[in-house]
């Protein structure tokens, strides 16, 4: 199933683009998607990334659904 991945800040620079579409197996979790990303872009591993699913922070074990939007959230620095 297809998942849209949005990348911001340092993760966007490493990936080279703001948005990716990634195919994962049905039942895949945030952790599974993370592993795909880490394999393709190993420099993401050092970023202490958190993830959001459909604009809400999500734990690694959250299950994904077709069409979900997952965001890579490097340490934030607002303010």
């Amino acid at each position: 199933m297809r998942i849209t991945v949005k990348c911001f800040a340092s993760s966007r620079e490493i990936v080279g683009q703001h948005e990716l579409v990634i195919d994962v197996r049905v039942g895949a979790t945030v952790a599974d998607l993370r592993d795909v990303l880490f394999e393709t872009y190993p420099r993401l591993i050092d970023l202490r990334l958190r993830f959001a699913v459909n604009a809400v922070y999500a734990a690694q074990e959250v299950e994904l659904h077709a069409g979900d939007e997952v965001a890579c959230i490097p340490p934030v620095g607002g303010g």
Binding site: F8, A9, S10, A52, A55, A71, V76, G77, G78, G79
Partner: protein
Amino acid sequence: MGKGRYEITPDPLAVDPIVAQLADPAMGAVVTFVGVVRCETGGREVRYLEYEAYPEMAEQVLKQIADEVRGRWPEIRDVAIVHRVGRLEIGETAVVIALSAAHRGQLFDALHTAIDRVKEIAPIWKKEVWTDGEAWRSEQ
């Protein structure tokens, strides 16, 4: 009461319009926090900052922060949190937080908590561009 305003914007920020938006006849006190781009960070001279956000999520998180603050200090009448994105020069305003209440009471602690939480959880990122390099920076 509780009209709120939670916004990510590329436009320059001003305090008075945000305070005006909180106005209601029973409001007696407003406190604001204004975050400004500094010329220096950790001993390095800053040329400018570049702010980036995940706006759809950030606006939800700003509203969540406002709800947290109002839950903890029920006398708060209204909250506005507006954060700018894009390239910001020294002296420009990056964020404005405004809290209103009937009386000053707990506004000060609530304001302190609100800006701390924005820095902790809002999906907003800051790249510092120094005279001799650049980096994405976080307080975490």
